[in-house]
């Protein structure tokens, strides 16, 4: 799958996951909080009623005219049925710590268990849930501690059900979302992938189709030279054929970046290329040195990495003034290849050097097409590496980190 498309799916799924989780979390928190609030109001009523809700309150009340009216129906703490439906117990503790049952209207506990549970809750204090479905309140007054525990299983059961449904629902939603994104992204990115593939195909075909005509031009120029002797024009043709060949090869190579997954001995690669480059530097009167750590190994495509190292050193060889240096270090799990050379460029950041067809003022009169370092950038990016270029105190420093 295209990298960009993969990233799109990952980011979209992450956004959906965060939003959905946040929404369901809020719903469930509100739900559970509401249940807890209702329970706290009931326990407060129980405490206000002295530890027991009176059942002798008639289901009827007198209205303004003195007529008997049935109490309004309500749910939760306001319900007139509450004294009859609430399942709870209340335990009072004296300052000395002795506990006595004030009210006991519950089946899940024995009286002894009620006192034991209330005793531990008294130490905890405040309000909260105990034994999953029970809500408690601890009230301290006049040195006495009153613990009320009320059964909330009928109220909590739906809440837990909603929580489970939320979790399952979220998983299903995410799965459906993922399937949808995979399907829709294929259609969305197809034009982009097709365009990218067509561009690469065109560049590869153009490269191939340019090669024979370039050979023909070069061969015919040489034939003219053989029969009529070399002159400016044939030499100019030969130079331009050479230049076009280099550009065509590089443009073609930009279309193909196989990134193998082999272990590459970068030390050997760098040392070999530095060794062969040293002769060129010596001939050009440039002092060349190297400091290459042994045993530096990276996972990647050895052919591409060789190209990257060679292009970097070739670049230094073209523009080096007086001195050049290459170092290869491994530190903290990262590998750093640095190529530096004396330069006439002013100090500053030169990351633009990695843009295609970019050449600086010191390139006047120097052969080249401005593609070499863009090549290096593509290779390094394909290996998830970083690179930078800068001039410091008259030294051009190109650093590749893998």
């Amino acid at each position: 799958m295209n990298k960009v498309r993969k990233k799109f799916i990952i980011y979209a799924m992450a956004a959906v996951f965060v939003l959905l989780t946040a929404l369901l979390a809020v719903i469930n928190v509100i739900n559970f909080s509401a249940v807890a609030d209702d329970a706290d109001r009931i326990t407060a009523s129980i405490v206000r009623a002295g530890g027991e809700l009176g059942r002798d309150e008639a289901p009827f009340r007198k209205d303004e005219r003195g007529d008997m009216r049935r109490r309004d129906a309500a749910i939760g703490p306001e319900s007139p049925e509450l004294p009859f439906s609430a399942r709870y117990f209340t335990v009072k503790f004296t300052p000395e710590g002795n506990g006595e049952i004030v009210s006991f209207n519950i089946s899940a506990y024995t009286e002894e268990e009620a006192i034991t549970t209330a005793s531990s809750l008294a130490k905890r204090g405040g309000c909260g849930f105990v034994d999953t479905y029970y809500r408690y309140r601890v009230t301290k007054e006049n040195g006495e501690t009153v613990v009320t525990v009320i059964d909330q299983s009928r109220e909590l059961a739906p809440s837990y059900r909603i929580l489970k449904i939320s979790a399952v629902g979220e998983a299903i939603c995410l799965a459906v979302c993922l399937a949808f994104l995979i399907f829709i992204s294929r259609r969305l990115f197809k034009p982009i992938e097709d365009a990218d593939r067509r561009e690469k195909q065109f560049l590869a075909e153009a490269e191939r189709e340019f090669m024979v005509p370039l050979t023909v031009i070069g061969a015919n120029a040489e034939a003219i030279e053989r029969t009529h002797g070399p002159d400016e024009r044939t030499q100019s043709i030969n130079r331009q054929v050479k230049k076009m060949t280099e550009i065509t090869k590089k443009i073609g190579a930009l279309t193909v970046f196989p990134v193998g997954e082999e272990r590459c001995d970068l030390s050997a690669i760098a040392a070999g290329i530095a060794d062969s480059a040293s002769h060129g530097f010596a001939e050009a009167g440039v002092a060349f040195g190297s400091d290459i750590d042994a045993g530096v190994v990276v996972t990647g495509d050895s052919v591409s990495l060789r190209k990257a190292v060679r292009e970097t050193l070739d670049n230094a060889a073209k523009f080096a003034k007086e001195r050049a240096f290459v170092s290869l270090k491994e530190e903290g799990g990262r590998v750093s290849l640095t190529v530096s050379n004396g330069t006439t460029l002013p100090d500053g950041n030169y990351d633009r050097a990695f843009d295609r067809f970019t050449r600086f003022e010191n390139a006047a009169g120097v052969e080249g097409d401005g593609l070499g370092l863009s090549f290096v950038k593509d290779i390094v990016k394909a290996h998830n590496g970083r690179l930078s270029a800068a001039v410091e105190n008259g030294v051009f420093i190109l650093r590749i980190t893998l």
Binding site: T215, A219, E222, A223, V241, A268, S276
Partner: protein, 197 residues
């Protein structure tokens, strides 16, 4: 030299033919595989340059026909130069477009000289028959691979052009005979054939 040029591009055929003739060679031009095969049957050549995409025929069949008359073959291709190309083992040398005529002449001379040399050299117990372009009696080598291998065995600097590609292809071919042998770069010494455990 008697050279067979088998190239589909008539302009190139004509240009190269003229230059090689001016250099004192006897050049025969063919623009498809059928014509090349006919010429090959009529006459023996010192070397042949064959385009990989020569029409009207199969490259392998044509190179086999040329090899039967002991003609070393240089294949020229639009494909990118790589170790995989060298592993195809159809020819004694591979060139890619575009190429310079001096490089072509050098290659043709190289394959011709090797084909008639009768030389054999040893690479840590593996015999390389230069005139047959064979390593270990069975693995096909190219002209440049033999040059690189000889340079390594004699401790000479390896020619820098496409060096890494040739070293990779030589190692792949040596591994077919003995995986313990491979060319490695030794700091301070250069490329050496190592026998690993």
């Amino acid at each position: 030299m008697k050279i067979l040029l088998a190239l589909p591009d008539r302009d190139l055929l004509s240009g190269l033919g003229d230059i090689l003739t001016l250099d004192g060679n006897e050049v025969t031009c063919a623009f498809d595989a059928i014509q090349a095969a006919r010429f090959s049957s009529d006459k023996r050549f010192d070397a042949a340059l064959v385009d990989r995409s020569l029409p009207r025929g199969d490259l392998r069949a044509l190179t086999e026909l040329l090899h039967e008359s002991k003609t070393p073959v240089v294949v020229v291709t639009k494909d990118r130069f790589s170790a995989e190309l060298l592993m195809r083992a159809e020819a004694e040398s591979y060139m890619t477009y575009p190429f310079l005529v001096p490089d072509l002449t050098e290659t043709l001379l190289g394959v011709t000289e090797k084909a008639s040399s009768g030389r054999v050299f040893d690479v840590c117990g593996i015999a390389v028959d230069v005139s047959k372009f064979l390593m270990g009696g069975s693995v096909k080598m190219t002209n440049e691979e033999i040059d690189v291998l000889e340079a390594v065995c004699e401790g000479r600097p390896v020619p820098p052009r496409r060096r890494e590609i040739y070293v990779a292809s030589i190692n792949a071919k040596m591994a077919r005979i003995d995986p313990a042998r491979r060319i490695e770069y030794v700091a301070g010494e250069g490329y050496r054939v190592r026998v690993t455990e």
